[in-house]
């Protein structure tokens, strides 16, 4: 990027009297909004011509990195390729122009699409019904837990207010449970990151009548399959609880194993992970929730309409493109890609659990700790070489977690390129550690001062202007 030319805020490009829009003339006569209801001060929005706006945002995009830019091995986020046909389908005016309160007789095509997508997801997960109201993964978790909570309430089983979560789980799991008014019990992990079954038995023995659900991903956060899942499900079901599947790690299970068959009763799917809809810089995604037969009557109203319908259209286009022949290849190829990277790097990066992984795995930093080069430094140096960094410092089980998920779409050449660079960085850590510790060097900006941002928050242009004065 060219920071000098294009680093401005749109407000700084504004000039009074310019305009970037055209609207029809008012043919209705003069109807004035009464002064008493008007705002006294104008909103200080920019005034720019169209080309200035287009250039500004085009240049902003040049300062960004997406899956289309390069390899994006961000663990637990499943940054797979976002097919272009999905975008074309979602943009069809026959769907874009539908009002959500339009009578159902006039939206038959849209409703049919919802039904078709539901059938597909049921088939892929082994569950019976889906609600599409949740807007995102976290929203899906909340929806699923509410469904479970309402199920217990409907049976007068009101003491069930505790959710078991592995201590290695993502922070969203406990946060979702808390928002649902539920309490967390953490079950310990074994050294390999899988659930400590004995600890789980102890919890169930002590608090079985208060257990609402157990919440898990499978494969877990370390990319390992919980082999004892049938026993875990039986233990929880026997004490009256339900099994919740966090669909964050569903991708490697396509073609291999279905959550319903594992014994899960309720789950959410991140359509923006497994079903290829773009992450959009953080959203919109979609987090449809699936349940076993009989639980669908407890679906809560967590949004007014059909959820993020545009995202659902993309997901269905993806399912159709792959079809039954190729959707079953997704998991195996994603798993092979992950294992290939792992095996190619484990001599220079610390691999705490050396076994076949699923779609992702975790290194605990560089093998040689004597250089002082941290996971953060490795991540930043990767940016110099044109790769997005893996997920870092998660899971919390290790101090220097570096979590890599390549997805099924990456070619062997791409993986080999990444492997070579990771080895190169390990070498640099020995020969020129400063180079790595001060990375990145080639990006539009260098490392940022997080402390300044948090201590003295400037979060709007107005604050910025006032701060300068």
């Amino acid at each position: 990027m060219n920071n000098r030319l294009y680093g401005n805020l749109i407000f700084e490009l504004s000039k009074e009297g310019r305009k970037g829009y055209s609207l029809p003339k008012n043919h209705f006569g003069s109807y004035e909004i009464p002064t008493s209801m008007r705002r006294s001060e104008e909103a200080q929005l920019p005034e720019c011509d169209e080309l200035t706006v287009v250039r500004h945002y085009t240049n902003l995009s040049n300062n960004n990195f997406g899956v289309d830019t390069g390899f994006y091995p961000l663990g637990s986020c499943t940054m797979k390729y976002n097919p272009k046909i999905n975008e074309e389908m979602a943009a069809l005016p026959q769907f874009q122009n539908l009002h959500p309160h339009q009578p159902s007789s006039t939206v038959k095509g849209a409703l049919a699409l919802v039904k078709l997508l539901e059938q597909s997801l049921c088939e892929l997960t082994g569950l019976a019904h889906f609600t599409f109201k949740p807007y995102a993964g976290a929203h899906g978790e909340l929806t699923g837990l509410m469904t479970i909570d309402s199920y217990h309430r409907s049976r007068g089983d009101i003491a069930r207010k505790k959710v078991i979560v592995p201590d290695s789980a993502h922070g969203t799991n406990p946060a979702s449970a808390a928002v649902c008014g539920l309490e967390i019990i953490e079950v310990k992990s074994l050294a390999d990151g899988t659930v400590d079954f004995e600890d789980l038995q102890r919890i169930v023995a002590e608090q079985g009548t208060e257990i609402s659900a157990m919440m898990m991903t499978n494969p877990n956060t370390l990319g390992l399959f919980e082999t004892r899942i049938p026993e875990i499900a039986k233990l929880i079901h026997d004490c009256g609880g339900l099994m919740y599947y966090d669909g964050a790690n569903l991708n490697p299970m396509l073609g291999a194993c279905r959550p319903g068959d594992m014994g899960f009763d309720v789950m959410h799917i991140n359509l923006h992970k497994t079903f290829s809809t773009p992450h959009g810089g953080g959203g919109p995604g979609a987090g449809p929730v699936g349940v076993r037969e009989g639980l669908q009557e407890f679906f809560p109203v967590v949004s007014p309409y059909y959820g993020n319908f545009g995202v659902m259209m993309r997901a269905y286009a993806y399912i159709l493109s792959l079809g039954r022949e190729h959707i079953k290849e997704v998991g195996p190829l994603a798993v092979l890609n992950a294992n290939y990277i792992k095996e190619s790097l484990k001599d220079v990066y610390e691999l705490p659990i050396d076994t076949i992984c699923c779609h992702e795995f975790v290194f605990d930093g560089l093998k040689d700790k004597s250089t002082g080069v941290t996971t953060m430094d490795v991540a930043k140096r990767l940016l110099d070489y044109g790769y997005h960094a893996p997920t870092i410092y998660f899971p919390l089980l290790f101090h220097e977690s570096l979590m890599i998920e390549p997805t099924e779409n990456e070619s062997k050449e791409t993986l080999d390129g990444f492997i070579a660079v990771m080895r190169q960085i390990a070498e640099e850590a020995k020969t020129d550690p400063e180079l790595v510790k001060t990375a990145p060097h080639t990006t539009p900006i260098g490392r940022v001062d997080d402390v300044l941002a948090a201590k003295h928050p400037i979060t709007t242009y107005k604050q910025l202007v006032n701060d300068n004065n």
């Binding site: 997080d450 402390v451 948090a454 201590k455």
Partner: protein, 126 residues
Amino acid sequence: MATFQAGLLYSESHEYIRVEGEFGYIGISDYAQHALGNVVYVDMPEVDDEVTAGEEFGAVESVKAASDLISPVSGTVVEINEALEDEPELLNKDAFGNWIIKVQLSDPSELNNLMDAAKYEAFCAA
């Protein structure tokens, strides 16, 4: 390295209290500020708020962590350290010199549940 100041009492959640008569000055230990890193914000109660031993009365935030402040004693807040509103980093510079709240103790016997500096140092080392 963290320092452990004698003459103060410490809790397992790393708060200290300096007792002066019926009042106590509560802050976080030097060990705690080391663990937190750069403190960017201190969430404090208001004067006249009640605090209870073992319950949270505020929070300390660094860039990558937030830690609840747990009161080592029960009582009423009589003063807060307003300097921390603008300069939370004072906790990093001198944790013992910058208390967070001043409390009028309602039950001095609670002090018996706390650790002295030597015990606390051993607790942190464990």
